[in-house]
């Protein structure tokens, strides 16, 4: 461990964009085009976020580039004059509620001061615990996607399970790497023709995409089970098999498959803790159960100089993320007197509205995440490790939730240590919130500082003496 205690590196810019995924890249590009001095920060070694995440060029040459449009956007950002700070983890906001606090790849503290902040911190996968989910070999579909894109054959046999449209391309990516996908299990019934599904007809390209995934899965003999969830992963040191049950009738076993990799995920959750640290007004999305910032249509939060764009504003997919990034940038440019072309702004608004309709239609196909998490958590056997960091079982949590006099989410955490480990409840959070039986008090896990575990040395630079030096 390095023990540097030097003063922080200070960066100033007119606009700082946090997160170099589709939304952050689009926002940074538009802001730079408008003539602003822009800093773009990301904790990954390369820009792209999760959606446009790119391995090294030598891997792309051999494994192929499955999202070449990402490379295009990234190179335009690089050419636009945006200052790119990769490997920088933003962990908090200073006491002035304006300055971003980060740490660079060497562990040196970093301060970023900007007139405008664009939080494009993306999303991460919504996990719902089940017995055995902590076994090596049990992964999120996102991990399977990334590893496949890096050319890794993750295992020999797998089941891809959870809910949402993302499961299909992940299953296809695994197939492409030579992994045998024995089943795809979707908790809902999105793939039966129905009233909701018909709406997708207005977006034929989307239907074509879904159909092509289906065709590939069928060609490989992959069974797509609907109304089906993983009830348990079995194994000693590594996952060996998975039991699938009916979501609507958890007592009914659908299948038990031998696997060496199991991919389970229930869609994505906005990573909205940075806006919370800025003091932005937040609300609970009743459909997803997620905490999201209250925003104007162009992404301005209740704190006027803070915008939230992309998946952090509410999960809606990469095209929407790009549109949101652009819309926020245009609004910022207007706000600093660099009025963009009226037609540009109008086109951005129309594009956003169209994408929003599409997002609503797509999500209507799948069960509401809030309902899913509640139902799945209710069925959890008592021995399930709900908090995988601190190894807290469902039994322990249920007991804490029924403490004499009443309880709420922070009380359950305090009583059991659930959510107090390294991931700070990012994985077990939805389940913790669902295990609470309702009633008064706090129903959500609040944002915590630092946003990632932070070397102690990275905060020493912010003590009084260092402040005077800088």
């Amino acid at each position: 461990m390095t023990t540097k205690t030097g003063p922080p590196t200070v960066h100033t810019a007119q606009a700082a964009v946090v997160g170099a995924g589709p939304a952050g890249l689009a926002a940074a590009l538009e802001l730079a085009r408008g003539g602003l001095d822009v800093l773009l920060l990301d904790e990954q070694p390369e820009p792209g976020g999760q959606y446009y995440r790119r391995p090294g060029p030598e891997v792309l040459r051999t494994a192929g580039d499955h999202r070449p449009e990402g490379a295009n956007l990234i190179s335009r950002v690089r050419e636009s004059g945006v200052r790119l700070l990769t490997g920088h983890t933003v962990w908090g906001v200073d006491d002035d509620r304006r300055t971003l606090l980060a740490v660079d790849p060497d562990g040196t503290p970093v301060q970023v001061r900007a007139d405008w902040i664009v939080a494009a911190t993306g999303a991460y996968e919504r996990s719902v615990p089940f017995p055995g989910w902590q076994l090596p070999g049990v992964v999120t579909p996102g991990l399977a996607q990334h590893m496949s894109a890096e050319g890794v054959r993750l295992g020999r046999r797998t089941v891809v399970a959870g809910s949402g449209p993302f499961l299909l391309p992940v299953a296809c990516a695994l197939l492409e790497r030579g992994v045998r996908v024995v089943a795809v299990a979707e908790a809902g019934r999105p793939y039966a023709p129905g009233v909701a599904a018909l709406g997708a007809l207005r977006f034929p390209s989307r239907l074509v995409e879904l159909a092509s995934y289906f065709a590939r899965l069928t060609r490989h003999g992959v069974r797509v089970h609907q109304d089906t969830v993983v009830a348990e992963a079995h194994g000693g040191d590594h996952v060996e098999s998975a039991t699938l049950v009916r979501f609507s009738d958890p007592g009914r076993v659908v299948a038990r498959h031998e696997v060496d990799v199991l991919c389970v995920g229930y869609g994505f959750r906005p990573q909205s803790d940075l806006p919370q640290l800025f003091g932005c007004s937040m609300e609970r999305d009743p459909v997803t159960g997620d905490t999201v910032p209250r925003l104007t249509p162009v992404g301005r939060s209740s704190v006027p100089h803070v915008y939230v764009v992309g998946e952090a504003a509410g999960v809606a997919g990469a095209p929407t993320a790009v549109a949101r990034g652009r819309a926020a940038a245009l609004d910022i440019l207007a706000g600093c007197g660099r009025v963009p072309d009226h037609r540009t702004r109008r086109a951005a608004a129309v594009r956003m509205a169209s994408l929003t309709r599409f997002t609503r239609l797509t999500s209507a196909l799948y069960p509401s995440p809030a309902d899913l998490v509640t139902a799945l958590t209710r069925e959890l056997p008592g021995h399930t490790l709900v908090c995988r960091c601190e190894c807290v079982t469902a039994d322990t949590l249920r007991e804490a939730a029924s403490a004499p006099g009443g309880s709420d989410v922070p009380a359950i955490k305090g009583d059991t240590r659930a959510g107090m480990g390294l991931c700070q409840a990012r994985e077990c959070g939805p389940a913790l919130e669902a295990l609470r039986t309702g009633g008064a008090g706090t129903g959500t896990v609040p944002a915590r500082v630092p946003l990632r575990p932070l070397p102690v040395t990275a905060v020493l630079g912010f003590s009084d003496s260092s402040r005077e030096d800088s």
């Binding site: 403490a403 009443g406 008090g441 915590r448 070397p455 102690v456 009084d464």
Partner: protein, 398 residues
């Protein structure tokens, strides 16, 4: 049932301990809590068991403690913490492994010598060490430490376990606990009190106000101006570490306390001021306090610089103008008692027992007359109210 022998307002560690002690004597007790039990001061505190004398309570504190005057209570608290787990039949993660209080400057060394004399006088066993001897005893101490006192009685307990265990034990003895139930009025009824809540009222001859940051607001409901004000401070915790530090480490001249909790995390505090107090939601921790606290912590215990900060949080404590605890009957308000102020966690078992004995007219374990609330009270309207935090409406904003 609407009538109880006692109503306790506030389900922090003081209220919980008091409810338990009252229930043990066969009294029927109701605990009313505006939010979740053990949430604010009690749930955000460090959990230190301060047995050796302390000088500075927190950075920016205007008045020094009457450290010598606090020693008898600290000694008594030590005795009670020794038996707390047994009495509650619960694991509170009590660790009474002793603690060091360090000094770096010549002035701080002088203060150590002075307080060591008080400790000898009070019959509290502490040992004065020079820097090298202290480092020999605790090699983790850094080179800037030039002296330390060692007290084998210092320790810590898990504040997330203590109040819930007291509440659970009280509950087993028949105590009713109503969380998320704010007290909206306190009214004299014959020789007792009527306590109003949004769900209805409860009558009891005895009302005990252990409302922590809301202690003055609850007093105001009875027309009493109690000069206390909440102050928000913050704590910092590292990721888990293998067991390396078995003692409490404090600083004589600066707000600093460090210990390793049972789970392995290092807890660093010392009363550094939070950025913002929010009694309706969550208080906000300050980055400047974080940096300042960690800078001194890594100076005194350099190994901390190799660890990772996992989380920080802030919470309120109830401060008295003289920085001393408050406990006892409210003058002119028969049946109304208060307890709170300095080191409420350390003193929780003692104040619980003391209140229970006061209520029943029995002699208390130690003389607490110097902590009596009369030094802080006046009838509402007759004194300057600027230091009190209660609302104009006279209702607690719970």
């Amino acid at each position: 049932m609407n009538t109880f022998d006692a109503v306790v307002i506030g389900a922090g560690v003081l209220g919980a301990a008091t409810a338990f002690e009252l229930a043990r004597t066969g009294m029927s007790v109701l605990v009313l809590e505006r939010g979740a039990p053990n949430r604010e001061g009690s749930g955000t505190t460090a959990g230190n068991l301060h047995i050796q004398a302390v000088h500075t309570r927190r950075p920016g504190q205007e008045v020094p403690l009457d450290s010598e005057g606090l020693l008898p209570a600290q000694k008594a608290a030590d005795t009670l913490w020794a038996e707390a787990e047994h009495r509650l039949e619960a694991d509170l993660e009590v660790r009474r492994n002793g603690g060091f209080m360090v000094a770096e400057t010549p002035e701080q060394r002088e203060e150590l010598y002075t307080k060591h004399v008080w400790e000898q006088r009070a019959g509290l066993n502490t040992e004065l060490l020079d820097g090298d001897t202290a480092r020999a005893a605790l090699p983790l101490l850094g080179p800037t430490v030039t002296a330390a006192t060692w007290c084998p009685h210092d320790g810590y307990a898990n504040p997330l376990k203590a109040a819930p265990a007291y509440l659970a034990a009280a509950n087993r003895l028949g105590t009713r606990i109503k969380a998320f139930t704010p007290v909206t009025g306190l009214e004299r009824r014959g020789s007792g009190w009527r306590v109003y809540t949004p769900d209805g009222h409860h009558d009891a001859p005895v009302v005990i106000n252990t409302a922590g940051p809301w202690i003055s607001e609850v007093c105001a409901l009875a027309g009493v101006d109690l000069r206390m004000a909440p102050v928000a401070i913050q704590m910092h915790v590292t990721a888990r570490e293998r067991p390396v530090l078995h003692h409490l480490v404090q600083h004589i001249g600066e707000g600093l306390s460090v210990k390793q909790v049972t789970a392995g995390n290092l807890l660093v505090g010392g009363g550094w001021p939070a950025l913002g107090m929010n009694l309706q939601g969550r208080s906000t921790a300050s980055v400047e306090s974080l940096a300042g606290n960690m800078a001194q912590a890594t100076r005194v215990l350099p190994f901390l610089a190799g660890l990772r900060l996992l989380r920080m949080w802030a919470g309120p404590l109830a401060a008295t103008p003289d920085e001393m605890p408050v406990i006892g009957p409210v003058p002119g308000q028969a049946g109304l008692y208060v307890a709170g102020g300095t080191y409420a966690f350390t003193f929780a078992p003692l104040w619980g027992e003391t209140l229970s004995r006061m209520v029943r007219g029995e002699p208390t374990r130690i003389d607490v007359s110097s902590f009596a609330p009369d030094r802080l009270t006046a009838t509402c309207g007759s004194t300057d109210r600027t230091t009190s935090a209660h609302t104009e409406k006279g209702t607690a904003p719970c």
